[in-house]
């Protein structure tokens, strides 16, 4: 039986892993290969590396660190940030990434999803969605979320975008619920359930993990395939081996 996945997300800047406080004041957390292997040893099922400098600086991902990670890491990893074309994606995949994740560029030009799926297969193509509940009760997407002052609301309903992204060839959806992100009050179960109902490809929950119970809720109540988190892992608030033991104790299938 397929295991539910636990995915730490690491922010990368200038080839180092950093931790941001409200998108600013980034603190150096260490070398990217060291941290990748530390999470591998702890039992992470997959890693996501987000090149936080790429999009704001208008450049593609720095392939050098992707290559360094690929040489040492023996679990799957996904690279996000600044990938806008098949050629940029090819460079990142050739450097050794297993998947690429696109967010704002996919909303700006949805055909990019099909181009990537045709070139590399749907299994490589992850569509990240930043989503926020608005006053009328609808969830709508946000773009350019890497910098608060640059963020935009194109007005598209999240559920419509989830359906369209799949139709175009998304092999996996990462739903980042911005209303719960960074607050550690739990994943946005209502929103994840709504997306799950129309998401036939793997769905990854993102935004809000604070306790082990939050992970269990996402898996049991929202039936997500994977749960992504950053700060609870980086701060040491939750240790992955303990998390997995706890989840297993609740009947959730995990890889130990």
């Amino acid at each position: 039986m397929l295991s539910r996945r636990i995915i730490p997300c690491l922010d990368v800047r200038d080839g180092r892993v950093v931790k941001g406080v409200r998108f600013r004041d980034h603190v150096d957390m260490g070398g990217i290969e060291d941290l990748a292997l530390r999470y591998r040893d702890a039992g992470a099922d997959e890693l996501v590396f987000y090149d936080i400098g790429a999009s704001p600086e208008g450049r593609s991902v720095d392939r050098d660190w992707v290559d360094r990670v690929a040489r040492v890491l023996d679990i799957p990893f996904c690279v996000a940030g600044g990938i806008r074309s098949v050629e940029e994606a090819r460079a990142v995949l050739r450097a050794g990434a297993d998947k690429i994740s696109i967010n704002t560029p996919a909303l700006e030009r949805p055909e990019l999803i099909s181009e990537l799926a045709d070139a590399f297969g749907v299994q490589c193509v992850v569509v990240g969605i930043d989503s926020l509940r608005e006053a009328d009760g609808q969830w709508r997407v946000r773009t350019h979320t890497g910098r608060p002052d640059a963020m935009r609301a194109p007005g598209r309903r999240t559920l419509d975008w989830v359906a369209e992204a799949q139709r175009l060839g998304a092999g996996e959806i990462v739903l980042n619920c911005m209303g719960s992100d960074g607050v550690r009050g739990g994943y946005d179960i209502a929103q994840l359930k709504a997306v799950r109902a129309l998401c036939a490809v793997p769905l990854v929950a993102s935004g809000g993990a604070g306790t082990m119970a939050h992970f269990a809720e996402a898996f049991i109540d929202a039936d997500v395939d994977a749960a992504l988190a950053a700060s609870v892992f980086h701060s040491g608030a939750i240790a992955i081996p303990e998390l997995k033991q706890t989840l297993r104790g609740q009947g959730i299938k995990v890889r130990l």
Binding site: M1, D45, D74, P76, R94, D98, Q123, G171, D225, R255
Partner: protein, 199 residues
Amino acid sequence: MDVAVIDAGGANFGSVCHALQRLGARPRIVRDAEGLAGAARVLLPGVGAAGEGMRRLQAQGLVAPLRALRVPLLGICLGMQLLFEASEEGAVDGLGLLPGRVRRLAGGPGLRVPHMGWNTLDPVSASPLLDGIAAGAAAYFVHGYAAEVTEDCVAACSHGERFAALVQRGKVAGAQFHPERSAAVGARLLDNFLQWNPT
């Protein structure tokens, strides 16, 4: 050990080379029949579609040399699927080194396709390729098609239906999962393949 890794157009051959290097082997990327000369082992990784994979092997002049290969061959993911007689995907003929067919995973409620993530290996017959790999060990899979369980299957996996996770017949082997991305279990499989001396 000199290991030929065939570039069949997928994106994962770099990861496979890195995994072999971590085990002390000397992988080299091969794009034509001449490149196979002198190799002690051949790996056929692959990510993508079966039709495109076979067309590339044909264009590179590798179909006949792979069918006539005298050293151990390991197909990975799509590379394993190409070892069989035929695939539903693109309705193409495969290399025909193993009897059997590759079919689309049916999926269903709660069963997402592609089958993506860590799933368990269920040994079905003894094989040196499984040395040190316990029943129930987890490996990383990413695929939408799979080979049926035939008598060459040494480990199976289930995703709604049972399919072949690891196969072996003579000097030909195949892994549906990605050993290069399956942590210690994957490294052990690759090492077993490097040590393997089938007659």
